[in-house]
């Protein structure tokens, strides 16, 4: 594995603000995947803030770029970003996990403007994005397609079926971001099914690959600006992230893959996210 320069990344106010929202979304729902929603905040916000072409007032605008959160369990972050981007009122976030709400615990497209496809079963999103990219390419479209997968999702064979297919068709309008936070459901990735050397695997499958610190805004921006990394090939960004990033006692802890914050936990998390550290 290539060594990633560890930058002492200090979260800026927008990153902390989004995290406070995510924590409150999950608190309101009483359930959900917190750690996994906190690891992807920066890679998601940069994408929506400065890369994707979209129109929140016209969510089905045909010329829009498509983002697919293949790791659908990280949807609290996506919902928060979409609300912030103006797709729907932020108050709607309070209905997460509630009876009768469209805000399911895994990303869902029904009555949710901005959510391109429903995910939650792992291993579907990259192939869906690949199909979209192929259709656009064949029509001479100018769209770009971004899929975010989890590291655990790289256990799914279907992820690698898509990984084989996309370079064959030279889909350089497609990029995948691996939110590599190193923890999956029952343990550390290296102890469950070791993915290393992960970047080498994608490279061997024919992708242009770059590894970055997934919390470093400048590195993320530079990576996105460099896509496609190799002309005629799809791009893979292996984003090294920290599960539970931003809340000291949640960081890199398996427990917070699942746990929704409440009580003292919640107060402490929000307090930490109030101020820069």
């Amino acid at each position: 594995m290539n060594a990633i320069p560890k930058v002492a990344v200090e979260l800026d106010e927008r990153s902390r603000h989004l995290r406070r929202r995510i924590v409150r979304v999950l608190e309101g729902g009483g359930r959900g995947h917190l750690g996994t929603s906190l690891s992807l905040v920066e890679i998601l916000r940069v994408l929506f803030d400065s890369v994707l072409r979209y129109d929140p007032k016209n969510p089905k605008w045909p010329e829009r770029d498509r983002f697919i959160l293949s790791k659908g369990h990280g949807c609290a972050a996506l919902y928060a970003v979409l609300a912030e981007c103006g797709y729907f009122p932020v108050e709607r976030l309070d209905t997460f996990y509630q009876d009768g709400s469209p805000l399911a615990g895994h990303a869902t497209h029904k009555d949710m403007p901005g959510v391109e496809v429903s995910t939650g079963s792992l291993g579907h999103g990259l192939a869906l994005a690949t199909g979209m990219a192929l259709a656009s390419r064949r029509d001479g479209g100018a769209h770009r397609f971004w899929a975010m997968v989890s590291d655990g999702e790289c256990d799914e064979g279907s992820t690698w079926e898509a990984a084989l297919f996309a370079p064959q068709h030279e889909l350089d309008n497609l990029a995948v971001i691996v939110d590599y936070n190193k923890i999956q459901s029952l343990g550390r990735v290296e102890e469950v099914i070791d993915l290393e050397p992960l970047a080498e695997k994608w490279r061997a499958f024919g992708w242009g690959v770059r590894e970055i610190d997934g919390h470093d805004l400048a590195a993320i921006e530079a990576a996105y600006a460099g896509v496609p990394f190799v002309e005629g090939r799809p791009s893979c960004i292996v984003a090294h992230t920290v599960k539970g990033k931003g809340v000291s006692y949640m960081e890199d802890k398996l427990l917070y893959h699942y746990r929704a914050p409440r009580g003292e936990d919640l107060e402490k998390a929000l307090a930490e996210l109030e101020t820069a550290r």
Partner: protein
């Protein structure tokens, strides 16, 4: 049926550049014309049916009408969750097409026997399920599922089946086609069993037993009116399918009958028991083994008529 399907699809694709055909690396010597003449509408997904199905859904969400194609178990059971979540949940305009329905590939072994997929596909929300009986129906069904916006599954047999219909048909999704009429019995057939159903009806007619024959080419939405009419107007109903008696045509018809309070009709599902065929053989041989050939069906119908 395979040739009828591919020829019709080729014509439809030539007329509409948004019609796309994805094969799971299947169709040697029959898909080459499509590939050569319509390369932008042809995809070989390789031996990767999960990806093929998600890919199809992705293309459909960009406005394409997408066909996936392989031997019956591969585009259905192998990638069932992709069909359910990516195609059906997104109401994606994907047409899953399988060749080798039932025991078409009998000698290839149980892995290639397609005897559960109709039932499985029928359960999926929003899925239209079609099993044409002969090349004439296959041509009409191909046009009908392209005209219908949304997920469809179509089960085909192989190449070279004879036509059962004598001439042009009025094919509508969800509407059974009547080939014979009689008051003693209704034979409801789906897929390639129609020829046997007609032959059995003709044998019965020789003895003065009148049988109605319905081609139930669409399993979902089922022509419930035709089933209820058969229950009212004929004394017995037998369903005929090269599929498990669980979940397919027999189950679908039984569901309608069970919920029709005035239905007083003797009923039998003729199909494949819920068991693997461990001995392989030609389709003809396996039909004999399962009493799905003409004498076998006739014998089963006789017991039904005798009330045994």
């Amino acid at each position: 049926m395979r040739t009828a399907f591919l020829d019709t699809l080729y014509e439809l694709a030539k007329a509409d550049r948004n019609v796309v055909f994805i094969t799971g690396d299947l169709g040697f010597s029959v898909v080459e014309r499509f590939q050569a003449e319509l390369p932008d509408q042809f995809v070989n997904a390789g031996v990767a049916e999960q990806n093929m199905t998600s890919l199809a859904a992705g293309m459909a969400l960009m406005g394409k009408t997408v066909f996936t194609y392989s031997i019956a178990n591969f585009p259905t059971l192998r990638c069932l969750e992709q069909v359910r979540n990516d195609v059906c949940y997104h109401d994606a305009n994907v047409k899953v097409v399988a060749v080798g329905g039932g025991f078409t590939y009998g000698a290839m072994g149980a892995s290639h026997h397609a005897t559960e997929e109709l039932g499985v596909m029928r359960m999926l929300p929003g899925m239209v399920v079609v099993a044409p009986a002969d090349p004439i129906e296959a041509r009409a069904a191909t046009r009908a599922i392209v005209a219908h916006r949304g997920p469809c599954y179509m089960r085909l047999g192989k190449a070279g089946e004879p036509n059962v219909h004598a001439g042009p048909i009025d094919f509508q999704l969800g509407r059974a086609i009547r080939l014979r009429d009689g008051a003693d019995l209704t034979l409801i057939s789906t897929g390639g069993m129609l020829g046997t159903a007609v032959a059995v009806a003709d044998r019965l007619a020789e003895r003065g037993v009148g049988a109605r024959v319905l081609s139930m080419h669409t399993l979902k939405p089922l022509d419930e009116d035709a089933v209820r009419a058969a229950a009212r107007q004929t004394a017995a109903i037998a369903t005929l399918e090269q599929h498990s008696v669980i979940g397919g045509l027999g189950s679908a018809v039984a569901e309608v009958l069970a919920e029709s309070p005035d239905a007083r009709v003797r009923f039998r599902r003729i199909g494949v028991p819920s068991a693997f065929s461990e001995r392989v053989g030609s389709q003809k041989w396996l039909e004999q083994q399962h009493r799905l050939d003409e004498p076998g069906v006739l014998a089963q119908v006789e017991t039904l008529l005798e009330g045994r």
